[in-house]
């Protein structure tokens, strides 16, 4: 249930409503939006009588949240969530651009990419140390060595780092190095991992599974939110459809405005995995911004032809710089900014 207080409700009245619902076993989540206090209830409290609560002094209205994803829903928190990661703001009017190689391959490759993407205007550096690969014989990532290199790249460029964590027992290790923990598309419904990342209280980049619905994605975010961790970016990265002849996945551009309506969490688009083809990355990136995305996740490699993974979809630093310039124009057209 959500309780909307009257705009002129006194702190005493808000307190009394809080005290009442808490005494019935509910946890409360209080937000103020345009001068109005909104009390969201979470947990497993006793059933409450909406008429009784509606009669309490200062209460304007009560609403039942019918969506299964409660904490992620806009009804629960009407204002969009924004947060900062090492000084970089995510959500709000500004767009967040995250770029870097698919996997960390070597010190030289990573540092070269990190400097190049920062020059071009990226706000955060991505790079995989633990790689979820379809084949067990593909390159599996550098592991902890990769994390150390990411930390070195952060020290050299000041860019916060985003890296994937694949198993619950590695969360503590990855959290030592990473600023944002990425949950990969294949792990979107790994509920043990979601719980572990929720408990780690670090910002999270949650990627949509290739065959997950929008609601599945929101339910996955709900797991993290249930631990009181609300620093979550949702990421549309393409879904599996009948046609994968010319692109790796089908970018679900619909999902962006739909998510923006359903949830208060920021939405990031990954045109690299969505298309899997270098030349389609920029057009799809622009479409995502036009559709209302709050940022981009783009793969950049100094020498894509030598990349150990996802070379076909990685942009060169020059191509990435052109993409950022185009994104700036598109952002201006939809009244957003690129910091």
């Amino acid at each position: 249930m959500i309780i909307l207080m009257q705009p002129d409700a006194t702190p005493f009245q808000v307190d009394n409503v809080l005290a009442f619902v808490q005494s019935k076993g509910w946890q409360t989540c209080v937000t103020r939006s345009s001068g109005q206090t909104v009390i969201g209830l979470q947990g497993n409290g006793q059933p409450l009588d909406p008429f009784y609560i509606g009669q309490m002094p200062g209460v304007a209205d009560t609403m039942e949240v019918t969506e299964r994803y409660k904490l992620a829903s806009r009804a629960f928190r009407p204002t969009s969530t924004t947060f900062t990661v090492r000084g970089v703001t995510v959500g709000g009017n500004g767009l967040t651009i995250i770029a870097g190689p698919c996997s960390v391959e070597s010190r030289a490759q990573l540092l070269e990419t990190a400097h190049a993407v920062r020059e071009a205007g990226a706000h955060m550096l991505r790079g995989g140390a633990f790689k979820p690969r379809t084949s067990p014989y593909s390159f599996q990532g550098l592991g902890e060595k990769g994390l150390e290199l990411l930390a070195e790249a952060r020290a050299a460029t000041g860019l916060p780092i985003v890296t994937e964590v694949m198993s619950p027992h590695k969360v503590a290790l990855v959290a030592i190095y990473a600023d944002v923990l990425q949950i990969g598309a294949r792990n979107m419904q790994n509920f043990d991992l979601l719980n572990a990342v929720g408990e780690a209280q670090r910002p999270v980049l949650l990627k949509r599974g290739p065959s997950a619905t929008v609601e599945d994605l929101l339910m996955a975010a709900e797991y993290i939110l249930a631990h009181g961790n609300d620093r979550i970016m949702l990421c549309e990265r393409g879904i599996r459809t009948f046609d994968n002849r010319f692109t790796r996945n089908s970018f679900d551009v619909n999902a962006i405005p739909v998510l923006k309506q359903l949830t208060h969490l920021p939405v990031i688009a990954d045109p690299s995995h969505a298309t899997g083809v270098r030349r389609y990355v920029q057009p799809v990136a622009l479409a995502a911004i036009a559709a209302g995305a709050d940022g981009l996740l783009v793969e950049v490699h100094p020498h894509p032809e030598q990349a150990l993974s996802d070379g076909d979809q990685s942009l060169t630093p020059e191509e990435f710089a052109r993409l950022v310039a185009a994104v700036r124009q598109m952002a201006a057209a939809v009244e957003r900014s690129v910091g």
Partner: protein, 296 residues
């Protein structure tokens, strides 16, 4: 539905707190003592326990804190319940018939004005619900009991007068105890016990321990000292603060405390509960500044 253990007999205030927090349908398990509640939860007879820890007028239940130190259950929630005293008697007995009133010393003290107005003699007893049970089993025409409305219902006693306490701010805080920690809430509170290194006899040890919280702008909501049982004139400190141990400031303060204290035991992190304002109708502008904790 989980079984919740409580100290006392059916109709006790702790049982009311269970019904208030978990709902009237919750199965309850009465225990003979505070230890009994810990035993019941540890042995799996009950999933959770409800224990009184502090009354807004008379202070703490020291034994509960000793048990929290000795045993290893975690605090899952705090429950604030308004305490309302009801005067009850055997069916048919009226207020005019009464000469004596039995209840706990705390209850009798808080209802002193009422008792003296009607010339009733206070008779101290061990617990309120137990007094009601005894009166129901052995009805006496001149004896009343002060207790919980629930106790009157449970034992079929007549309510002669409700809300006879002199104080509107009478709340008791209970802890819900269990095996696991609850998920983190938007606003949490943390409870812990620590000892200072008195062996060193350094002036200011406690001051420096508390300074770890003050420096980081962490609000302490309760501090209490209790004698240490294994060393005369040495004390343990029970402390509650606003925040969750996983928040960076709280984590740093706890690390600082660990360095300075002789030991630290974390009793639990649980959602912070708001206490109602009894006089919410009065819009007292002057008091609003005092209650700025609502500035969210």
């Amino acid at each position: 539905m989980p079984v919740v253990a409580f100290p006392g007999t059916h109709g006790a205030y702790a049982e009311s707190a269970i019904f208030q927090y978990f709902g009237e349908q919750t199965p309850t398990l009465p225990c003979r003592s505070l230890e009994g509640v810990f035993d019941a939860v540890e042995s799996g007879q009950a999933e959770l326990g409800m224990l009184p820890v502090e009354n807004a007028l008379v202070g703490s239940w020291p034994r509960v804190y000793e048990l929290l130190l000795e045993r290893d259950l975690r605090i899952r929630a705090e429950v604030i319940m308004p305490i309302r005293y009801t005067l009850m008697a055997a069916p048919g007995v009226t207020l005019a018939d009464l000469k004596r009133v039995r209840s706990t010393p705390q209850a009798l003290a808080q209802c002193e004005k009422f008792l003296s107005r009607y010339g009733l003699q206070p008779v101290p007893a061990f617990d309120t619900a137990g007094s009601a049970q005894e009166l129901a089993q052995n009805p006496q025409p001149d004896l009343g009991v002060i207790g919980n409305e629930l106790a009157a219902r449970v034992y079929g006693l007549d309510i002669l007068e409700a809300e006879i306490e002199g104080a509107p701010f009478n709340f008791t805080r209970f802890f819900v105890l269990g095996d696991e920690d609850p998920p983190r809430a938007q606003r949490s509170k943390t409870s812990l016990i620590f000892g200072v290194r008195h062996a060193l006899h350094q002036p200011g040890s406690l001051y420096r321990c508390l300074g770890e919280f003050a420096e980081r702008n962490i609000n302490l909501t309760k501090i209490e000292s209790r004698p240490r049982r294994n060393r005369p004139w040495d004390y343990l400190f029970f402390l509650d603060f606003e925040g969750h141990w996983q928040e960076p400031a709280a984590e740093a303060a706890l690390l600082g405390l660990l360095r300075r204290a002789s030991f630290v035991k974390l009793l639990g992190c649980y959602p912070m509960t708001t206490t109602p304002h009894p006089a919410h109708e009065e819009d007292n502008a002057g008091e609003e500044d005092v209650h700025h904790l609502l500035d969210l």
